[in-house]
């Protein structure tokens, strides 16, 4: 049907509610979670088997897909993105086993989680713009629900509604842009579009379509004036879901921008780079400034995600192969780092029961291992070598200099400094403070939660020390679209 990794995930998605039914009969709350984790692992294995073929040449499903046929097209970029999504999905599922144990409706939770990742896999594998859109909705709808999953509190409901309205408006905007694109070219197949748009003159209507699509994806990728849902939705969701939202869901937006801008609105025919760079600069500056004084740990991290998306957008806006490689590297690294930070925040919240930084003071002394992991992630995201965040930020800055966008690069460097400042503040509060009264009784984090966190922290260090193979992968992925 689709490619094997997606099919596997679909099977698991559809069967998880039944597993949940069995789970209730057996009175074991953990089965559906393990089932979902197995699903991710299996899908990851399938992806690995697929990768060698897909990396060398794009794989089209069905094989003789016509111009008007819905099709999947798995190339190096798809494999790269899908690998990140699956890995994060797996780790977060393992984390959720413990983290979500106090909630009800767990089998539905895992179903939605699987559905969301399936949708993302479909998004990156789609070879047709409309197929991408259908999978996009398949990703979005579960994510709305997951944000509002703890509906017995007001915050997730409010955030979920805002998220839903803005994001759906974004989806509709993509659809509108797509319709203009269809009117211009008569097809929505990516391969075909790229051929047609190369030969056709850059029409004014092409620019209109570009604006619609960029804004639509920009909502998901939290571009500056469209970011407003993010600081609400990411903190309101359960921490495991925040890790996925900040780690990979907003990356799907970046993926959409990369795919459309590089394969349809080719940078050689459409001059969008300055516009995108302006938006990127606004996004990173706003994100960093707003994060600076936050009192809520998850809100701070959410704002920082906006800033980091600004870096990725800036990397994309250089339009060079270097820049795209850097952007993809940062996509991967940010997924790891921000996911890790949210998971750590989740561990703190799980034990201390508060998100307020004033009340979390010195909690690192009670949860030493979590604190060390948190510090690694925070230093990494603020670009301190030899951790992975440094590698990609270095590459982005290089790409900026290389593309001759010196002014924007300087803006980015200043932003890195700003981000560095509030992450140091965060480390100071968590690690370098005397414990307050209400964290005195806190115990260390459960092993099942520590396990995925430790794994991610380790990979942060490994990617930082020996980034060569990962850069190789990212560069291959970048070559696939340029």
């Amino acid at each position: 049907m689709f490619t094997l990794p997606i099919d596997t995930l679909i099977v698991f998605t559809v069967t998880t509610p039944f597993v949940g039914w069995i789970e209730r009969k057996l009175h074991r709350k953990i089965i559906s979670g393990i089932y979902a984790a197995v699903g991710f692992a299996l899908s990851g294995f399938m992806l690995y088997q697929l990768s060698s073929q897909a990396l060398s040449s794009p794989m089209v499903v069905p094989i003789h897909a016509g111009v008007f046929e819905a099709c999947l097209r798995v190339d190096a970029l798809s494999v790269f993105a899908a690998a990140i999504f699956l890995a994060m999905g797996f780790l977060v599922t393992v984390y959720s086993l413990k983290y979500m144990e106090r909630d009800t409706g767990l089998s539905l939770y895992y179903t939605l989680l699987l559905a969301m990742i399936t949708g993302m896999l479909g998004v990156v594998a789609a070879g047709d713009f409309f197929t991408l859109f259908v999978f996009w909705e398949f990703m979005c709808i579960p994510s709305y629900v997951l944000v509002a999953f703890r509906k017995q509190q007001w915050e997730p409901v409010e955030a979920g509604f805002k998220y839903l309205v803005m994001s759906s408006a974004g989806s509709a905007t993509i659809l509108y842009g797509m319709s203009i694109l269809y009117g211009l070219t008569g097809t929505l197949n990516f391969a075909q579009l790229s051929v047609v748009m190369t030969s056709a003159a850059a029409n004014v209507w092409g620019y209109v379509s570009l604006a619609f699509i960029l804004i639509g994806f920009g909502v998901k990728a939290s571009m500056f004036p469209l970011h407003t849902w993010l600081p609400d939705a990411h903190p309101a969701a359960p921490s495991s879901i925040s890790a996925l939202l900040s780690g990979i869901v907003i990356k799907a937006g970046a993926y959409g921008i990369i795919r459309t801008l590089f394969m349809i609105f080719l940078p050689s025919r459409f001059s969008w780079q300055i516009a995108l760079a302006v938006f990127a600069a606004l996004t990173m500056t706003y994100g960093n400034f707003a994060a600076l004084l936050q009192k809520d740990i998850k809100r701070l991290l959410a704002y920082s995600s906006i800033a980091q998306m600004g870096y990725i957008l800036f990397a994309i806006s250089t339009t060079t192969s270097y820049g795209l490689t850097a952007g993809l590297m940062h996509t991967m690294n940010h997924a790891l780092m921000k996911g890790l930070l949210f998971l750590c925040a989740g561990a703190f919240i799980y034990r201390a029961g508060t998100r307020n930084l004033d009340e979390l003071k010195g909690i690192g002394h009670k949860m030493p291992l979590t604190a060390v992991i948190f510090t690694v992630a925070a230093l990494s995201i603020s670009g301190v070598p030899p951790l992975n965040g440094f590698v990609s930020e270095f590459m982005i800055v290089y790409a900026g200099v290389n593309a001759g966008m010196l002014a924007f690069t300087v803006v980015m460097l200043i932003n890195i400094l700003l981000g560095f400042a509030y992450y140091l503040r965060l480390i100071k509060i968590i690690v370098w403070s005397t414990p307050t009264e209400n964290v005195k009784k806190v115990k260390r984090a459960p092993t099942l939660m520590l396990l995925p966190m430790a794994l991610m922290a380790l990979s942060c260090i490994i990617i930082g020390l020996y980034p060569a193979p990962f850069i190789e992968m990212a560069s291959k992925a970048a070559q696939a679209v340029i």
Partner: protein
């Protein structure tokens, strides 16, 4: 025959009306309707442009897209309305502007 431009202007205005609805209306259910208007603007655009191809020819491609996307819009509304139910339970109102405890 009415020129294509009129139709395009119509969908563009429909899109703007949708955004206007989202940007000014207080009632949450109206906001959900606003999203529907946006999707329908896009759908109409597909239909219009499918006939722009060649005189006397209508492209089935666009129509199949519209059929699918209508169903998707329905899904979104369903989820949106269930969330609205809970928002009403928590806030006791359907006024979207009362949902502003999260800010800053």
């Amino acid at each position: 025959m009415i020129p294509l431009s009129y139709y395009l202007a119509f969908t563009a205005i429909l899109y703007i009306v949708g955004i206007y609805c989202l940007a000014t209306k207080r009632n949450m259910i109206r906001l959900v309707l606003g999203i529907e208007i946006l999707v329908n603007a896009a759908n109409l655009n597909f239909i219009i442009l499918s006939a722009n191809w060649k005189t006397g020819f209508v492209d089935p491609f666009a129509h199949s897209i519209v059929i699918i996307s209508t169903a998707l819009a329905g899904c979104i509304s369903a989820v949106a309305l269930t969330i609205v139910v809970y928002a009403y339970r928590h806030y006791g109102t359907l006024d979207a502007r009362k949902l502003r405890r999260l800010r800053g």
